[in-house]
């Protein structure tokens, strides 16, 4: 089927005649657009319009007709023959787009790059201020709770503990068990060549209790619970729930942030303990089945290889990791602006930042503990 002609340009003796016909509607807008663009671009003194055969007409047709008229410099002339039933719409569209289309600002890419660097520096400075302020607000809220413990939101705390603590036990046990097993397998495989296969117990014991246990658990909690904190607070921010809370005279830090962070601080040491034990168990299993080391021997070697201070080092670190994860997650959540996209961006930032901070903190702790000889 041949598409119907929408517009014809007839060059006559006394000037150009533009004849419109058919359906000037959204469905044909693409074709019409091209035809209007291809119109003879001369300042014609004698342009005549004949729109009598236009069958259908909508805003798209009206605008393209208006554009054609304007391009002919016939701004004040009406298109002859346009059926009366289309007049009202055409008159309405005729009044629009008078101020020209706002041109998108085109930037030099080099300047754009420099601007980006500047903006992110500025953003980093703002961020630093924001974090200091958040820590301050958190400490104030905590102080108030300590002075007046009845203001603690106990229900909320228990609910969060269940969510970030109890419910993450299975996945944490599974992952740390596997990691303990992998470390044991690698240790046995490589130490055997030196005839030192038994030292795998020292490797596992020290590595897991001091570093791996707390690190793996913190990273998992940052990914699992930190991200959900950010998404929750962010969507509450988006829907003005935080503002509602504030106008009811409640401090969002106290109501929302404190129970969440407190739950993490309480849960993470427990999860670290559980995770470390699962990793040791995984190691013992591999040592037994792959290395042929009896579990009894594994246990007695373990008690010789590690001291209580190795365990303490791991456990002392964990509440600090929780604090960092919790505060980063909540601050990033409260930074969400009105759009769904910013919620996604802030959740990503939250996870990336908290994992990064956890690892940096771990490094700082390592330096600290070796300095005090632990």
């Amino acid at each position: 089927m041949k598409p119907e002609a929408l517009i014809e340009f007839k060059q006559g003796a006394d000037g150009l005649e533009i004849v419109g016909s058919g359906a000037w509607t959204a469905a044909n807008a693409g074709r019409l657009d091209a035809l209007v663009e291809a119109a003879p671009r001369r300042e014609e003194r004698h342009v005549k319009f004949d729109m009598a055969r236009v069958r259908e007409f909508d805003t798209y047709g009206a605008w393209l007709l208006e554009r054609l008229l304007r391009s002919c410099g016939k701004d004040l002339v009406s298109p002859q023959g346009l059926p009366d039933r289309f007049r009202a719409l055409f008159d309405k569209v005729h009044e629009t787009n008078r101020r020209g289309v706002s041109p998108g600002i085109r930037r030099n890419w080099l300047l754009g790059g420099v601007e980006k660097i500047g903006r992110s520096t500025e953003g980093a400075a703002e961020d630093a201020v924001r974090y200091v302020a958040a820590i301050g607000a958190f400490a104030t809220a905590l102080g108030e709770i300590l002075l007046n413990p009845r203001r603690l939101r106990f229900t909320s705390l228990v609910y969060q503990l269940d969510r970030v603590g109890l419910r993450s036990v299975p996945i944490i046990v599974l992952i740390t068990l596997l990691i303990g097993a992998i470390i044991a397998q690698q240790g046995i495989f490589h130490f055997r060549r030196f005839g030192a296969g038994d030292y795998v117990v020292d490797l596992i014991g020290i590595l897991v209790l001091r570093e791996i246990g707390v690190l793996i658990v913190s990273i998992m909690v940052a990914g699992r619970s930190g991200s959900s904190y950010t998404a929750e607070l962010g969507s509450m921010k988006m829907r003005e729930e935080i503002d509602a809370l504030r106008t009811m005279g409640r401090n969002p830090i106290e109501v929302l942030v404190l129970p969440r962070v407190a739950a993490l601080v309480l849960a993470l040491p427990l999860l670290t303990f559980i995770g470390s034990m699962a990793a040791l168990y995984g190691g013992a299993l591999v040592a037994w089945f792959y290395g042929g080391m009896d579990p009894g021997i594994f246990a007695s070697r373990l008690s010789e290889a590690v001291s209580i201070s190795d365990f303490e080092v791991g456990m002392i670190k964990s509440p600090f990791m929780a604090l960092v994860i919790g505060i980063v997650a909540c601050v990033e959540g409260l930074k969400v602006k009105g759009s769904a996209e910013s919620l996604g961006a802030q959740t990503t930032t939250s996870v990336v930042k908290s994992i990064f901070s956890v690892i940096v903190m771990d490094g700082l702790f390592a330096m600290f503990f070796s300095a005090i000889g632990m």
């Binding site: 509607t25 959204a26 805003t59 009202a88 629009t96 787009n97 706002s102 602006k337």
Partner: protein
């Protein structure tokens, strides 16, 4: 088959919609004539939005038949459904603008999806739409989160009208607007209705807009249409809920004003 020349825009028959064991729409029948502005009233929580969502196919119906321009969702082929979805525009109660797109991008979104237009033409038509709903072209680059409630409604209307639909569904277009803005919005709907020759299906609580813009009104009570007809028919209805709605204090004062 999609039939745009039919005299009935919407035809509902024996419609039942419910959640769990709660029936919200109960054996409802309703016809909306093409080209009219149809107003739907009902108690808050009475199921108006649910009825609208059922018509749009967003909530499943338990029973009954829904035809829009002769297309029945259950038996329609995918092509007709696409055509139909191109021919309707919806203004949701909360606006439902895409929060990460600017106002222009929101209005251009349906054009981008359905039409094959140059960016320039899209921007110009979007500007025209924006001006037709009474906003300035400068507002086009704003993000939805930075708009006022009334502006959000206008942008949502512009987006609903983006493809020059045959029918628009408006869920409480004037709620949350001041009386002047609500009046302007009513006038806007009237003008657009006249210029674009569209059918309007409007849910509203606003007696003033019922009186000034609607050709026909239906009252939804207990999941059924309790009364239907002109404003006069509403005042004469003997249904208890319709009586208290239209002949309560607010209704009476409106009637006095309309008379004087």
């Amino acid at each position: 088959m999609l039939d745009l020349n039919t005299s009935l825009a919407i035809r509902l028959n024996d419609l039942v919609v419910g959640f769990g064991d709660k029936i919200v729409i109960d054996h409802l029948a309703l016809d909306v004539v093409a080209g009219e502005i149809f107003g739907l009233v009902g108690a808050s929580g009475g199921g108006k939005s649910v009825l609208l969502r059922a018509i749009l196919g967003l909530v499943p119906k338990r029973q009954g038949r829904i035809e829009i321009f002769g297309v029945d969702r259950d038996s329609a082929n995918p092509h007709d459904l696409q055509e139909l979805e191109r021919r309707w525009g919806v203004l949701y109660q909360q606006g439902a603008l895409f929060s990460s797109l600017s106002v222009f991008q929101n209005i251009e979104f349906p054009m981008r999806e359905y039409l094959d237009l140059s960016p320039r033409t899209m921007r110009e038509v979007a500007t025209a739409k924006l001006e037709m709903v009474g906003l300035a072209p400068e507002d086009g680059d704003k993000l939805p989160a930075t708009l006022s409630g009334g502006m959000t409604k206008r942008v949502a209307l512009a987006r609903a009208l983006a493809l020059d639909p045959q029918i628009v569904f408006l869920d409480e277009p004037t709620s949350g607007l001041d009386p002047i803005a609500a009046g302007e919005f009513d006038a806007l709907i009237r003008t657009l209705h006249q210029t674009l020759k569209i059918t309007v299906f409007m849910i509203t609580h606003d007696l003033e807009s019922l009186r000034t813009v609607c050709d026909r009104i239906a009252a939804l009570a207990d999941g059924k249409i309790a009364a239907i007809g002109s404003m006069g028919a509403m005042f004469e209805s003997e249904h208890p809920w319709v009586r208290s709605y239209f002949r309560g204090d607010r209704g009476r004062s409106l009637l006095r004003r309309a008379a004087s």
